[in-house]
Symmetry: C2
Subunit: 372 residues, 2 copies
């Protein structure tokens, strides 16, 4: 097990210790007066690290249940089938994936495959008539994101991106403080996330361009980009970016080891970020005209700790994965369109920025980002 | 009084409440076994904001005393002359400044004038045969810094720059943790400092290019540059930089309102910084292979608060100004050369980086910094 997965494993365990408390601002989203007539049946596609994180989410979800799996590893299939008492007909391999279209037991496919497989399996799931949740980063390019959105629309299914932090009360507070100008306009945001990957096996998919699409920017930086966008409630206008020195050349042959970037926003705010695989960092800070607010830890799985210039935050630990599953499950069961913050368009908007960051770092030039 | 000076005033008062405690690592510098036979006689040149901050430094200094003043404002002259019981012959105007050469009561001139006057008055003080402390930023260009160093050398006087944070125990700890690789090599530093200047009168010298030399980079960013250099114990190799949006165009007509930059260092570390006049920020964070260390507040007058991955720091509040005066005073009284961290060369090294930052921001290009 790499240091990376060990760390995340420990965080997952810790997060699991906190009960899935309903924060007042989340009640409207998650707690219907009555339990749903039935739960949404979810097939988990790709039984890697994040699939294991999702176990506690399913355990606490009121609207979704784990009803099927897709895996290429027989040992994993056996373990998960046993853990969740899955019928044989709900266990798929990548060869049999498309037969999902004949399975009424499955409503939605949750794709936790390596990034490079997100596009293909999203489109194949849509073509099988299943709703989709795809993990971040949604894909490698804006064009890919659009293809995925189009495929789901054509198939009449809904597409969600696994943006768990929209269901976390500290982050809801950041959004409120920023978007409502509680301390006046936000002027400067610093949002950074990194994990030390020294010791990772060189064949880990996170180090392969074809599977990861990039380095930490793809896997972690997307959270920094998200946070700037949702705290300001704006889309960035321009970006500059810089690759840092490669300190582990034996690992980082295909993807960046670390990268810094700076986004400007229409209201005059600047958002600076670093994401890296050579050290641990997990911080968010926003300075506004009349105060500040910050989280540290900020963007990982938590538990989070934060404060504003008026004092410490005091929000409960929630099960982000359960809350996300519940919101998506409820909307789909009620045949309502997903909120835009969790829909495919949100992943596409992040990808616009990420493409811009790579172009800026590759060219050394300021990149004007496409709008609208 | 502007918001800027109000804030600094409050900080000064607060800092004054802490006794000038001798931290063990500072004892060697500041506490000789016996008091000196006589104190070094200092003339303060420019009785603005920072001169008032220095009052508590002189009050607690064992090696320096305030023995004279240089001011263009008769009311200030009267007030300071009364406060410090100064003889008429030790009170100068800018017209009579050069007559200092005939005054054996003055050993050193401490220049707290606006930045744009640092070079001229350093050279004139040297020509009057006086040692010099000049506030940061030392000057506007590397060339100016070199001229100042040369003038002092030619005159046989010593030149110091007022780098107070070298005499502050939290910062000594940052240096120890970083330079000695206590948590392994440092990979990423974020050091940012800014003050909200909304409400500043448009004629404030900080807003004038001819007097300030630039915006917050000159006045505040120099601390960020310093901290990266002294925590790593290295000189940066290259820099990229970006001006942010101007949100107060009526104030920021001549100098930058805010700027972000990224330095790369020989050991592979990256140091990212923001300095701004449109919000308050005061943070330092360093991530190393096996841990982190941080201060928040970090670079202002304090009091500072910090921790490492091993727990919170517990250092006393020291009077930075008194400690700085004592170290400089002791060296000069003992006719020893000043340590390089406080000598003119240190100001020149910072100016190399600051010139590079402005060039990088002006050109949008990565700038390779001169070494050696």
């Amino acid at each position: 097990m790499t240091q990376y997965t060990r760390r995340l494993f420990i965080e997952t365990i810790s997060a699991g210790l906190g009960a899935a408390v309903s924060h007042p601002s989340f009640a409207a989203r998650n707690d219907a007066d009555q339990p749903p007539a039935r739960k949404l049946n979810v097939a988990l596609c790709g039984l890697g690290r994040y699939a294991n994180v999702l176990r506690s989410g399913f355990a606490e979800s009121r609207y979704c249940r784990l009803a099927g799996i897709v895996t290429g590893t027989p040992a994993k299939a056996a373990q998960w089938q046993q853990d969740y008492k899955l019928a044989d007909r709900n266990v798929y391999s990548y060869q049999t994936f498309d037969q999902l279209k004949n399975n009424p037991d499955i409503d939605l496919v949750y794709i936790t495959l390596p990034n490079g497989m997100h596009k293909e399996y999203t489109i194949r799931a849509a073509q099988a008539g299943k709703h989709v949740i795809v993990e971040k980063p949604m894909a490698f390019t804006v064009r890919d994101c659009q293809d995925m959105i189009d495929a789901c629309q054509k198939a009449g299914v809904q597409l969600a991106v696994g943006y768990r932090l929209h269901y976390e009360p500290h982050h809801s507070e950041l959004m409120r403080l920023g978007q409502q100008n509680i301390f006046g306009p936000v002027r400067l945001i610093d949002a950074s996330l990194g994990y030390q990957l020294a010791g990772t096996p060189p064949n880990d998919w996170h180090l392969k361009k074809s599977l990861a699409g990039g380095g930490p920017l793809m896997n972690l930086g997307v959270y920094c980009v998200q946070s700037g966008r949702y705290v300001l409630g704006e889309e960035p206008l321009s970006v500059t970016a810089q690759y840092g020195p490669v300190t582990m050349p034996s690992l980082f042959k295909e993807v960046e080891e670390n990268i810094t970037w700076q986004l400007t926003f229409p209201g005059g705010a600047v958002c600076t970020s670093a994401t890296t695989s050579n050290c641990n960092i997990d911080r968010f800070y926003a300075a506004a005209d009349n105060g500040f607010f910050e989280l540290n830890p900020a963007l990982s799985y938590g538990p989070f700790k934060g404060r504003s210039s008026q004092g410490p935050f005091n929000f409960p630990v929630v099960n982000q994965q359960a809350a996300l599953l519940d919101d998506i499950g409820r909307h789909i069961l009620e045949k309502k369109p997903l909120p835009s913050h969790i829909a495919g368009i949100e992943g596409l908007k992040d990808m616009r920025v990420i493409e811009g960051i790579y172009r800026a770092a590759d060219t050394g030039s300021k990149i004007i980002l496409p709008q609208g």
